[in-house]
């Protein structure tokens, strides 16, 4: 098997959250956003690999890390076998000649005070002109650079190039701007292009054109794409292989056709089901996961998707926080909240890893204990079975869960899934 163009192993990217002085004193330690929390995948030369997920899942962070805008906290990134995880200045310069980024918003990616011709010329001035032999040589004159820019514009379909050279970004349409951005990137003759939602901001009737353009470029310049999107429909069309991300981890990865034909991970299924279909005769009742993507500073334990998963098991990682979420949701109903008042309010409960506890104050602890037991049992489903113990210690009621089973990515029917269902 030939060596993959790009290989990412257990990549982790954490950001520190700036907490005020007092908070740090009280809260102990810096909070970290686990933007990317152990991601591994590889991309073969010439393929289109899709990284699909909702916002906050870490896909954009991966894009920025690959291009060197963000530093990896740990893990490895190998480009053609060469370690480019934490390059120095020179190394970074060279990485950027091989891996480049196309942005979601082409208007924002271009300086409004500069003509688009100049924007591309700048790159050529900084890196030199690409030669047929594959290396780079610095231009002799401005005329040479301009000619090279014309060549690039011609390549990306901005014809006549001389007309477009002097235009400012706000004089061009969205599609044209995106072509300029692509052209600018091509000036570096990269081997891998990371396209971060390249068509998300374009109108539907224009998207197809842009996607075709990207495929054309790929064929002509022998490119490899890492295609980042939240739109599963576009990903299905464009990508050879895809990885589905959730909260910093890849939950399912494999050939696109396999995954779309038979998605295994519940999150993948949920994503597919949620897509609105432009065919009213096929409206169906959707089973959507509860709640929203939680914040990446304190991701759920065990499988991160477990609090929302419609198919969760008792061993998926239930913890104290889930009890609090349950109470919160249950007591949205005003009458239930009134009837079960002694177990509340929600703020009185404290989560600590696998434990949820509360000091009942003046209430009768055993009554609260019984009520909580009933509530959890009534909630149905895996949480009840995951409870190890609901006990009273002094004036505190404690709900404790069993430790979750460790999550290991497994190969299932041609793709890799990280889910205890398999």
């Amino acid at each position: 098997m030939t060596e993959p163009l790009l290989e990412v192993r257990d990549l982790k990217v954490y950001f520190s959250v700036y907490r005020g002085f007092v908070q740090r004193l009280l809260g102990g330690g810096d909070a970290k956003v686990h933007a990317v929390d152990g991601v591994s995948f590889s991309i073969a030369q010439g393929e289109v690999f899709g990284l699909v997920g909702e916002s906050g899942c870490g896909k954009t962070t991966i894009a920025k890390t690959l291009v060197g805008l963000v530093r990896a906290s740990s893990g490895k990134i190998l480009f053609r076998g060469e370690d480019v995880t934490r390059p120095d200045r020179k190394g970074l310069f060279r990485v950027r000649e091989r891996i480049q980024l196309i942005y979601q918003d082409p208007q924002a990616a271009l300086s409004p005070a500069m003509t688009v011709g100049e924007a591309v010329a700048d790159v050529l001035r900084a890196h030199g002109l690409p030669t047929d032999k594959g290396d780079r040589v610095h231009a002799e004159s401005e005329a040479e650079i301009r000619a090279a820019v014309y060549g690039i514009f011609d390549d990306v379909g901005l014809r006549p190039p001389a007309f477009y050279y002097d235009k400012y970004p706000d004089e061009l349409s969205g599609g044209q701007k995106q072509r300029v951005v692509a052209g600018r990137v091509l000036g570096l003759r990269p081997q891998l292009i990371v396209a971060d939602e390249p068509v998300a901001m374009l109108d539907m009737s224009v998207r197809a054109r842009m996607l075709e353009f990207l495929m054309e470029l790929k064929a002509r310049h022998h490119l490899t794409y890492l295609f980042i999107t939240h739109d599963l429909a576009t990903a299905k069309f464009m990508c050879d292989r895809i990885g589905i991300m959730y909260l910093g981890r890849i939950v399912e990865v494999g050939p696109a056709r396999t995954i779309y034909a038979d998605p295994k991970h519940p999150y993948t299924r949920a994503l597919l089901q949620a897509i609105p279909i432009p065919d009213p005769s096929r409206r169906s009742a959707k089973v959507l996961p509860k709640g929203e993507v939680p914040n990446a500073v304190w991701p759920p334990g065990g499988c991160r998707f477990h609090p929302r998963c419609p198919s969760a098991l008792p061993t998926c990682g239930w913890e104290g926080r889930d009890v609090i979420a349950l109470l919160e949701e249950r007591w949205l109903s005003i009458e239930l909240a009134a009837r079960e008042g002694i177990a509340g309010p929600v703020e009185a409960w404290e989560a600590d890893g696998l434990i949820a506890r509360r000091d009942v104050g003046t209430a009768e602890p055993h009554a609260v204990q019984a009520l909580i037991r009933t509530i959890i049992d009534q909630s149905g489903g895996p949480m009840a079975q995951a409870v190890r113990d609901i006990r009273v210690e002094g004036r505190t009621v404690i709900v404790e869960f069993r430790a979750p089973e460790p999550l290991v990515p497994k190969e299932v029917e041609g793709r890799v899934v990280e889910c205890l269902l398999y």
């Binding site: 909702e54 539907m204 197809a208 299905k236 949620a274 609105p276 432009p278 959507l288 919160e328 949205l332």
Partner: protein, 316 residues
């Protein structure tokens, strides 16, 4: 069928240093009470302007003509104060990005209290809070969020709170301008499901403005397709999707990329500039079925087919 909103010959023109921009031209639209009307189009077609025009939220350089009949009155003829009374009470609007629509310096409960007392100055804060809690329960937001600031909440929660603020006075019509565009697909589906259930409970009509054809197919009862400031086609959702009549609608539906797409299609050309006057059909340069009459004569809306579809096209 009672109509909750009737637009007649509505036009909106922006006066700019370069001339008049005809964002909306001669639009007729009727929304039945309790129904969802989907208004689709791409950027620059005028749909957002239309939504704002109904609530008179446009900047000073916008000139509006025609009539907007709501609850028996023409909103365009009302004074600013009368419109303010209606806004938020009988007519409400939610916007695209919930991130910036809430005042970052005010707690959620203050948003509610302020809104309630703006329309009902007599209400005491405690009672206002009770109403807020009820409405929050309907949108499935826990009442402890009342004490928080907007930045402490997630996007989905903020959008629900915006919806809740709109529901306070049981409006007859809710205008939703790209309500889920900034949200992820699962959240989007959740919010729309929520809207659907609320509509039944509150007997509210919704004008759903979006560029997402899938959303409209899933949720709308009727669809109006806008192009270059005009309505190109309008009709009941199921027949319109099954058999689109206007060439633009056909092109638009063909270019949607969904899970079944095997071949890409895009409508050739670019949308026209809305600056200055135009003659003929605005879609003429890009239309695959164009005829010579289309270049010089503007196609009036005609009713076509047994589902009485409104189409602005010379083909019919």
């Amino acid at each position: 069928m009672t109509a909750v909103l009737e637009l007649e010959h509505l036009s909106v023109t922006y006066e700019t240093t370069q001339g008049g921009v005809h964002a909306v031209q001669d639009v007729d639209l009727t929304i039945a009470s309790g129904s969802i009307m989907g208004l689709v189009g791409e950027s620059g077609c005028g749909k957002s302007t239309l939504g704002r025009a109904i609530l008179r939220l446009l900047p000073d350089n916008a000139d509006m003509q025609g009539s907007v009949r709501f609850a028996g009155r023409d909103l365009l003829s009302l004074s600013a104060k009368q419109v303010r009374d209606l806004r938020g009470r009988n007519l409400a609007m939610i916007f695209q990005d919930p991130m910036t629509r809430l005042n970052p310096l005010m707690r959620i409960r203050d948003h509610f209290i302020e809104t309630i007392r703006a329309h009902d100055p007599e209400v005491r804060p405690e009672d206002a809070l009770e109403r807020a809690k009820k409405v929050l329960a309907d949108v499935r937001v826990p009442s402890d969020r009342l004490g928080m600031y907007p930045h402490e909440l997630s996007g989905g929660m903020r959008q629900r709170i915006m919806i809740a603020l709109c529901l306070l006075f049981n409006p007859a019509l809710l205008i939703a301008d790209e309500p889920t565009t900034a949200l992820d697909v699962i959240l989007e589906a959740q919010i729309l499901q929520l809207l659907q259930s609320i509509m039944h409970e509150y007997d509210m009509a919704v004008l759903l403005i979006t560029h997402n054809l899938g959303l409209v197919a899933e949720f709308a009862d009727r669809v109006a397709v806008m192009y270059a400031g005009r309505i190109a086609e309008e009709g009941a959702t199921v027949p319109l999707f099954r058999e689109p009549r206007h060439p633009y609608t056909q092109g638009l539906l063909r270019s949607v990329i969904d899970l079944e797409t095997t071949k890409l299609y895009s409508v050739p050309g670019e949308p026209p500039s809305l600056l200055g006057d135009s003659i003929g059909c605005p879609f003429f340069p890009r239309c695959e079925k164009r005829m010579s009459v289309c270049e010089t004569v503007f196609p009036e809306i005609r009713l076509v087919g047994e589902d009485r579809r409104k189409v602005a096209c010379h083909l019919y």
